[in-house]
Symmetry: C2
Subunit: 177 residues, 2 copies
């Protein structure tokens, strides 16, 4: 069962650079894209920058709807993550193909991927660099977390299907936010 | 001893989201900034987007010189990484304070941090979003790696000095670059 994740804490989940799955919906057709090229841009409201290539089916959906959900999968979902990366929404429905569950979001029409332990409902707030760099700036409107999976291991892509899985945590005295 | 890292492979080191140390130099004064807010934007030449707040001393250096080096530290350097994040170049020389070694770069005036296992010499190619979002787009001109440390563990920040250390690697059949 998911709970609300405070918007002030969203950066703690994206900052370490996990592979994410971006879900979109246009004319009731859902799609999923695997993505590693994203960065936090501000803390609160959480602003996220990401690169979504115009070769991706999701690019069109995002351009048309200005909405998406960033879903963070645990390492246990690695096969589905790579499956979504290897295929195109032009040809298949990825929710069906990879047995992923679309769930109604609260602020956007794009669906949450229920199997992911964190879901971030986003709207596009700036696409000035969309044409030149395929770069979109998103604002997180609403965030969800499965509290039972709070300290999950995440996937970090090194290219060509090689991932490192996040390992042990350390804490050092820090003034950093 | 560092060797040239092929520009076509740079993304494999930044894509997984490691904490990096950005070094700059202005009027022979070197500075270092700890940074987690970065993303790959293109493969080759490697283009990197990053957020460097205007509250940071490094922001001024970058604005004035349009050059920097992105240095990737191993987990073994965690204390120095956090030290550089906790202090300001306005008050101290971080190379001296944290016993880090500046080394001459080949394409830029900013120094490499010798202790980091990967160094990426960069020039700013776009700062259109610099004022509004503190967002800089960099092109990697030259990349270095210590081959003996190729498979190093990296640090991934979750906020407030909590880091996960990259763990074991897996490989899945993938069409992804």
């Amino acid at each position: 069962m998911k709970k609300t994740l405070s918007l002030s804490k969203v950066y703690q989940f994206l900052e370490p650079g996990p592979v994410v799955m971006v879900s979109t919906s246009y004319k009731n057709k859902n799609d999923i894209m695997t993505m590693s090229w994203h960065t936090m841009m501000d803390f609160e409201p959480p602003i996220v920058g990401c690169v979504i290539s115009n070769r991706n089916y999701s690019f069109e959906n995002l351009m048309k709807t200005n909405e998406c959900v960033i879903n963070i999968p645990t390492a246990a979902l690695a096969k589905k993550v790579v499956g979504c990366g290897n295929t195109s929404g032009r040809k298949i429905n990825k929710f069906n193909q990879f047995h992923l569950t679309p769930k109604l979001a609260s602020k956007v029409k794009a669906p949450l991927i229920d199997e992911c332990y964190v879901n971030l409902e986003c709207k596009v707030i700036d696409k000035k660099l969309g044409k030149k760099y395929n770069f979109f700036i998103l604002q997180v409107l609403k965030a969800w977390i499965n509290p039972a999976e709070k300290n999950q291991k995440t996937l970090h892509h090194h290219g060509k299907g090689v991932f490192s899985i996040s390992g042990k945590k350390i804490k050092l005295p820090s003034k950093m936010k």
